[in-house]
Amino acid sequence: MEKPIKEKVKMPLTVEQKIKRRNFISFTTFLALGGGAFAGWKWLLHSPEEIPGVTGGAKAPLRRALNKTELFFRNFFSNGHLAKTYPKERAAKKVRINSLIGIEDDESFDEKNWKLEVKISPLQSIKIGIEEIKALPKTELIFDFKCVEGWDQIQHWGGVRLSDFLTHFKLDGLAENNYMGLETPNGAYYVGLERDSVLHPQTILAYEMNGQPITAAHGAPLRLIIPVKYGIKNLKRIGLMSFSNSRPHDYWAEQGYDYYSGL
């Protein structure tokens, strides 16, 4: 037997009821979403720090975001995109010194005995003297050096284009690796650079500043000048060069800064 269908009397809502109903729905949704957003923010604020490794010092979700953002913006990188250059007169006479890590903390360093050590395999290195480097074609660059802190300065540097250096010493095969690592002789300061930026035509190994040999505080005898990166990657007094397919350790990336730090 079929049950009799209950007759449902549905009165049309009055305006007052409609207002109440819509107010209730929208305000509940608003508060729920707002509460959710607030909880999400609290979660992010109190999220654990990343496990220290090649990078460190940032909250784990923020580090993931930095790395993803790097991948996105690397799509826009091109060797055809050059940092703006300036006439010589615009270059600062008093070049700013912001950090001496790897220099002031290395009292045993003797420039006369300096040679650039290039790791060509886990066990083998070659050593290259400054005269051999100076014998290569010189590239001069007057560009706006940019610090991660936000200041910048037009500076005049001279040296050998890094890609020329790599070709000349038959390191171009090694440079096919995804990354190059650079360190000061005492290993106190170190940076990692991805291949694209290493091979950028404005990336130079500099031994001159304002037409004069570089001073110790600016990274004598040989330093990196890489306009497609913030100053933190422009390592002074290069001691060791190495190549790898994974990220080499990086001084400021260990302290919460973006590994890429590209401009």
Binding site: R22, A58, V148, Y257
Partner: protein
């Protein structure tokens, strides 16, 4: 009799309320970044009137030495800011809502009347519609400002890859100045906006959450009639 009058579409409300916390995080993290090179202030004839920002301000908000943290937050929330803003612009263009938003020729004259009215100098109420003339100008300007923040931000963020943007913004220095000034602009906008919303009242505020306004057509007369007829609402 009361009547429901639709005012703000869902997407407008959504993007409005997403933008508020996202922009707050952008300003907060932006101050961490700015601190590392806090070069700006307002000086007239060599006398500094305002320094951005005084020490007490930095200390109160725990700003010093948080550059890396600021950058990490800034470069995550920039995505939300951009996507949300883009969503709003696309919605406004395709829905036709721009017609009630962008200023008309007469808006600039009318906005002046709105200002005089709001300051209680002039009694005549200027035409309101969905947005009055001053609102049209302010709400359109804020979109242009948001666009400006994205462009100048990109110019400072990747000045070599986006060298043409950097050039367009008048160079690295000027781009940073515009980026900073726009932020001050948001804060000023926010302050005026809050006061105006408070003055406009509940019906107006509710419309940005529930989407509608309640219009009352001669409620007194209807109520009287209703009581006489013994009808209930």
């Amino acid at each position: 009799m009361k009547e429901i009058k639709e005012k703000h579409a869902f997407l407008m409300r959504w993007t409005h309320w997403v933008n508020f916390p996202v922009l707050s995080v952008m300003i907060w993290s932006g101050i961490f970044i700015y601190w590392a090179n806090d070069a700006y202030g307002i000086s007239i004839f060599g006398v500094t009137f305002i320094k951005f920002f005084p020490e007490w301000f930095y200390n109160y908000f725990h700003v010093p030495q948080r550059l890396a943290e600021g950058m990490a937050y800034h470069f995550l929330f920039m995505w939300f800011f951009f996507i949300n803003g883009l969503l709003y612009i696309i919605y406004t263009i395709f829905s036709g809502a721009w017609r009630e938003l962008i200023p008309q020729k007469k808006s600039f004259k009318e906005a002046w009347l709105v200002l005089l009215h709001d300051l209680h100098i002039r009694k005549t109420v200027p035409p309101q519609n969905k947005y009055n003339a001053a609102q049209r100008i302010a709400y359109s300007a804020i979109i242009v400002m948001g666009f400006g923040s994205v462009i100048t931000g990109l110019a400072i963020y990747k000045p070599v890859q986006f060298y043409w943007l950097c050039w367009l913004c008048g160079g690295y220095h000027f781009a940073r100045i515009i980026h900073f000034t726009l932020t001050i602009g948001y804060v000023l906008f926010f302050l005026i906006h809050i006061v105006q919303v408070a003055l406009a009242g509940w019906n107006n505020f509710r419309s940005v959450i529930s989407g509608f306004e309640v219009v009352d057509h001669g409620s007194k007369i209807t109520e009287e009639n209703n009581t006489e007829d013994g009808k209930t609402h």
